[in-house]
Amino acid sequence: MRVETFELKLAHRDGRLAVLEVGGYINNEAGEAIAETAGTLLAEGHQVLLLDLSHTRIINSIGISLLLEVLERIMEVGGTLAFCALSPSIAKTFQIMGLAQYTQIYPDRAAALAALSPPL
């Protein structure tokens, strides 16, 4: 049986950048967990947040609105919210829900890191 359970992992942090790996269904609980972690990371000075959605297939509207709030808070401090490895269905959802407009979207982690990491 195919089971989708939520997992959140801080995979990487480096200066302004922090990478969160998100797996499973982004619903209210999951969205709140992401928002809380994002808030902590922002407070610690990570203003560029990359969410890797390789292992996420679904998100509901509550999850979207929570991500929109994360986006607002990041924009307030002049930071960047970025996503990578979106399934076609989630990419479409982000586009329709207006999340794609103000965020950076990359095909995979490597492309995102190359674009978001500060030049040496």
């Binding site: 049986m1 195919r2 089971v3 989708e4 359970t5 939520f6 499973g24 269904y25 619903n27 209210n28 609980e29 808030g39 297939r57 679904i58 998100i59 509901n60 509207s61 509550i62 609105s65 929109l68 607002e72 808070r73 307030e76 269905s89 479409k92 959802t93 329709i96 829900m97 207006g98």
Partner: protein, 503 residues
Amino acid sequence: MSLAERVLALAERQTREGGRPFPEQVLERLMAETGAKAGILGRGEEIMARRGDGGLATGRVILPAGRDTFWLELAGGTPLDPAARLAAGMVLESWVVREELKKARFGERRRLWEVESLRAIAEALGGTLEPQRIAEELLWHATALLDARRGEVWLASGVIGEGSGGALGELVAVARVGGEVMSTDEVRALGEGGVVEGGRLAVPIRGRRGGLGLLVLAEREVRGGIAPFSVTDGETVALFASQAAVALENAVLHRQDLHRQRLERELELAREIQRQLLPASFSVPPGYEVLARADSSREVGGDVYDLVSAGQDVLLLIADVAGKGVPAALMAASLHAAVRIMAQGCPAPQDVAARLHAHLLEATPDNKFATVFLACLRPGGELHYVSAGHNPVIVVNRDGGVHTLASTGPPLGLIQGSTFAARRTVLPVGALLVAYTDGFTEAPAPASEDDYGVERLMRYLAAHRHDPLPELVDGAFREVTAFTGGAPPHDDRTLVALRRIAV
């Protein structure tokens, strides 16, 4: 800068500073400006922000705005001048309007997303013939669209290709999101029906032949809590479920079609193997005439026969491998090849039988076995034979006397440690020996338990013992076909007839 101007400046950054809602920031600024120790900011009946505690000394002042009624209560400090109150009202009003606009835009986009989901699921379901994939697409779209916290799809075992025949069978959970919703017992108790009960929504996936599966969702999420599912939610999900039902039925039909095609290909292969098995020519021993005929059943059995020269003698083989199709045909081919090789050096049938038995035990994984009649024919009518579980071989003398050569042991490849002794008999001149497989004698009568049987065959052979072999053999096949009412054979029918014609 006047106080009013400083309050208006708040409108430049209507954001949640440090995650704090905007009204709290406004209240904080007003308290700082007036020196108040506590305060409440509200709109109509609603309290928007509250800071400090203790009783509020001053009364409520209105913060005029175009539409809403904002009010402020402060404890201590200097009162706000009218210009500052107007400024505070305007700042709050612009924030409220902005929030409403955001919400409206979100609602509008959400409706667009619903439409897109309906389109996407139709596309996804139309594009796959895998039941598992269909279940996942259905579950993911329905769960996300209805904001369910958890969801599951259950499919009938017959739909996912387990279980047998046309039965759809029990429901099995195949995909899950967010955690378990229903236990197997609950699903079983639900039967063919669905359910909408506040926290849970179960919608059957019904095909034309019956229940194909079940979609269950639990706990509709709203911001900061859970709301009950509505009847409209049930209707939306039912629409998804009916689309999935069509896709699942197509998937089942497709799998059945593939299965049928594979069976057809297998049968074709089995027929080809069997065609290769038929001996192109016999070694007919001097002083005998021989004729054989084999009719294949549709499913192809494991019949094989041959006459192989073994020095001065000739080895007669007729065998029936248990089973049908490619496995039986391959085993018959293997047995045939083994006999042809062994016939070179050891014409004694009991030795050939013992070695074949060992070969079959070793070479066949499951309980495959074969009934075999093996006879070594000498020029003078002398016959040494072994019958390993084979049907009685019929001998008809010139005067019409009939007897049979009964089985001398168990079938080959069946029981470890079996031994096979040969018996000896002599065929007088004019005697007829007929060996056959059970597809011949077990040919059923239409609509009855009766079968053709060995007695009928014996009577026929006795009556036609003087016929030339071609007429005798074809006549026997015609008799069986007539007995079954012309039904196509359900098992291979093989018959070998041998007559001693000279001293």
